[in-house]
């Protein structure tokens, strides 16, 4: 499928995504699982994706790198810096594909206590059409044949 270049759409067209899940654990336990590399490597990624390595400099302005080994064996690394760290309730970090020159996206992860459980909320914003195209080229979206733009004005 061919997509015509649309340079005029890139600055404004972005997508946002909100995903929630209630988990039987405390915010403290979840924050620890997310911010301790040895634990993070054990759970990161959807089924089929494994994490070959992760580096985290857990302080505001500190960098992180997350490895993603795809089912086809390709590796894609997500990189960014921490923008806000509020244990045990919130993490905010920039997000982009390594070696791909696109504007960074931003991910906010919240751990909200709900009785004995915790609602984990992931808010992924600034997903841009140009980033989608570049990531596709980088092999991150091996199976995705189309890309997109939307408005979040």
């Amino acid at each position: 499928m061919s997509i015509e270049p649309q340079t005029n759409a890139q600055s404004e067209a972005t997508l946002t995504l909100l995903v929630r899940k209630t988990i039987k654990a405390t915010p403290e336990r979840l924050f620890e699982a997310w911010t301790t590399p040895a634990q993070f490597m054990q759970w990161w990624g959807p089924p089929g994706v494994t994490c070959p390595g992760v580096e985290m400099d857990l302080r505001v302005g500190g960098a992180y790198r997350i490895g993603n080994r795809m089912p086809d064996g390709n590796e894609a690394w997500i990189v960014g810096t921490f923008e806000r760290i509020t244990p045990p309730s919130e993490l905010v970090f920039s997000w982009r594909m390594e070696h791909v020159d696109t504007p960074p996206e931003r991910v906010t992860v919240r751990f909200d206590a709900r009785g004995s459980e915790t609602e984990v909320v992931v808010f992924h914003e600034r997903l841009a059409s140009e980033a989608a195209r570049a990531q596709h080229q980088a092999g991150w979206f091996g199976c995705l044949d189309g890309l997109v733009a939307f408005l979040a004005d």
């Binding site: 067209a13 899940k21 039987k24 654990a25 992924h124 733009a149 408005l151 004005d153």
Partner: protein
């Protein structure tokens, strides 16, 4: 027509027009101009692609949070489900890599 598209929304015609321009530049709608009348048509194929792109990340994050849940819930078994929760299981060391 732009006036018809703007009518259901609480926004001015210029801002409706601005939003339509974003959609148009993103390839989600086509516009045909006849005199002063602009007719906008949805491009369902592009919308499908937009949805597919969002769907990828939605699946990625859903799957990742599922994995996180499995990891921490294995670590601390729910006493309600397990008939014989003991201090030993509760106090077992954290999983090691």
């Amino acid at each position: 027509m732009v006036t018809e598209l703007a009518a259901p929304f609480d926004m001015s015609l210029p801002s409706a027009s601005k939003n339509l321009k974003v959609l148009e530049s993103a390839g989600l709608i086509d516009r045909a101009v006849s005199g002063r009348v602009h007719r906008c048509t949805l491009d369902p194929e592009r919308l499908r692609e937009a949805d597919g792109w969002l769907e990828f990340y939605r699946d990625f994050w859903h799957g990742t949070l599922e994995s996180l849940a499995r990891f921490v819930e294995e670590d601390e078994p729910d006493p309600g489900k397990d008939a014989a929760p003991t201090r030993a299981t509760k106090n077992k060391p954290r999983q090691r890599p």
